[in-house]
Symmetry: C2
Subunit: 340 residues, 2 copies
DNA sequence: CTGAAAGCGCTTACAG
DNA sequence: CTGAAAGCGCTTACAG
């Protein structure tokens, strides 16, 4: 049995009330008394029991982070940013992933660590109604990542994919004004894919073009699938003078590799752009022109919002959108941006 | 105020003792009574208060995972493996990183989530005595990752770097029996670097060779540093018919890029091998010959050991070593292994 | 099989 | 400024 507040009280020859006061709102206690108590605490190596405290205070100093998956740099950056900020704010981070098959159910179950977490961050990447409803009655303050759910009453941190995608497509159009642009997405229900596709269609519409249906392809964000798909199309794409806009860097890297395997030159025979500016983007040859998405910053910002809400529960919902930036490298041709 | 056990008791017209029994060791309760209680629980959406429970049971069902850093795929794979297994075992995962500057201090502070976690997994990558002492008096069961601390009394999961490194060096020697082998490590105090270097020296010694001191280089595991360093040496290395053995894939990729930038051919002019078989290894051109280290499995195994210890606190310390495997690709020449 | 009661380790009015 | 006491929501002997 670890030392309790009672041990400290006995040793400092005070009541447990006084010990508790020293532990919390210091100012009320006589300086002498406080000193005795603090010494006793130090000598005994006393640490207040988290559970007893939580029972009274209804506060655990633990924040939950629920991600759709823990795979890939994308998510690990979020975790990293969130972790740093959480520590800065005096919180611990409880992490959980929602696997594809249990989706909404599981967000609930994780929230079911209820009482354990003071607040939660949930990343939503699919348009599942189950998730959305389960978010509705969260028992703790919630920050939703990246899924800009309409009419939601909670705080939100999103990344401005739309603007990033628009800028990228404009960049492609400026370099290849008449080329067909092939859009390689993730699943059709994926929110990021939807955003990026909308941006792509909007920009094309602005210049009076309508993408042909066969130039919009839904894959699954993975290198393998994209490589397999691209391997069968690169020659055709190249012959049509197409440009490929992949919705993430993994798929863009796959297209580059498929092109090289077909002895095509990138970007001369087939320009390729990615999205996210992950580590991969700088390791392919040629390096990827892509869009930088501030993942770590998103994790940090979410924690920040959550902590602020915990302090002022009644303030109006906050919606933060983090800016993106086109990073021009070599995979699309064109002049490199300064400092990229 | 959420519904409490009292609300349930009232609604089911029993005492809170009975409700508690239904919640825990089911079998003692009359079937009829239990049914009433279960209905009341369902109708009220009752969930036991984690803190009250923890206070009595001294159990939170939360496991802590402390990593040296949250950067890179290396660590995210551990998290991923740990998370999956933790959920499988009915635990939640609390994650924390130890930043370089607060090292041992902070492991303690994290353990200071004391009482909050039922057990901890700590990854040790540096030979810091502060960390080691702080591990000594951990207040909860501990599993140490990868730092094979001598005489330790806790469970350990290590990856067999030594064997992997030996196999890799043997492979290099079989292809280039007389070539100098340049070893590019992380910091000199990094445990993995030490292991890999020892293996390298041992294998060379076996064939009666002693590496020249200038062929042993300590860097910092980063692409940037390795690229800068390698850029100044690749020509020299190539002229000496050297082979580069980098202690991780990032650095190997940097050497490959530095060589290509110097218009050298890899592997013809400069064979390069990496370590870890991260995503990067398959994205460089040529792809990296490297050593596969089962990171996700390490995370999972650690959780498994921790859960087992939680169930039987007195069993003898367990030390698991996970096997590695040389993956032959193109960056070193030689025949590719089947299926790689 | 079930209930009344003690107790886990704290915090916080309430008196003094 | 300090202490005695109630209470947070549970679990678990102890009786019955």
């Amino acid at each position: 049995m670890a030392t309790s507040i009672e041990d400290v009280a006995r040793r400092a020859d005070v009541s447990i009330s006084t010990v508790s006061r020293v532990l919390n709102r210091h100012n009320v206690v006589n300086a002498q008394t406080r000193k005795r108590v603090e010494e006793a605490i130090a000598e005994l190596g006393y640490r207040p029991n988290v559970f007893a405290r939580g029972l009274m205070l209804r506060k655990s100093n633990v924040l939950g982070l629920v991600l759709p998956d823990l795979h890939g740099e994308f998510y690990s950056e979020i975790i990293r940013g969130a972790n740093l900020k959480a520590r800065e704010c005096g919180y611990h981070l409880l992490i959980s992933s929602v696997t594809a098959d249990d989706d909404g159910q599981d967000v609930l179950a994780t929230i079911g660590a209820q009482g354990l977490v003071d607040g939660m961050i949930v990343m939503v990447t699919e348009m599942s109604s189950r998730i959305r409803t389960s978010l509705g009655d969260a028992p703790v303050p919630l920050v939703v990542l990246d899924g800009d759910i309409q009419g939601a009453t909670h705080d939100t941190v999103a990344i401005d994919h739309r603007n990033g995608a628009e800028s990228l497509v404009r960049h492609l159009l400026s370099l290849y004004p008449t080329s067909p642009i092939v859009f390689l997405g993730g699943h059709a229900t994926n929110l990021d894919t939807i955003d990026r596709l909308n941006a792509y269609q909007k920009v094309l519409a602005e210049v009076g073009r309508e993408p042909s249906q066969k130039d919009i392809v839904y894959l699954d964000y993975s290198y393998e699938t994209a490589f397999r798909y691209a391997s069968e199309r690169v020659l055709e794409w190249s012959a049509a003078r197409s440009v490929v806009f992949a919705a993430n860097d993994e798929m863009a890297a796959a297209v580059v590799d498929a092109a090289l395997a077909a002895t095509l030159d990138v970007p001369a025979d087939l320009p390729v752009a990615g999205f996210d500016d992950t580590r991969i983007a700088q390791l392919t040859r040629p390096r990827l022109t892509t869009v930088r998405t501030p993942m770590a910053q998103m994790g940090a910002k979410a924690i920040e919002l959550l902590c602020e809400r915990l302090e002022s529960p009644d303030r109006p919902p906050n919606r933060v959108t983090l800016p993106t930036e086109v990073v021009v490298r070599e995979s699309c041709g064109g002049p490199p941006a300064p400092g990229s």
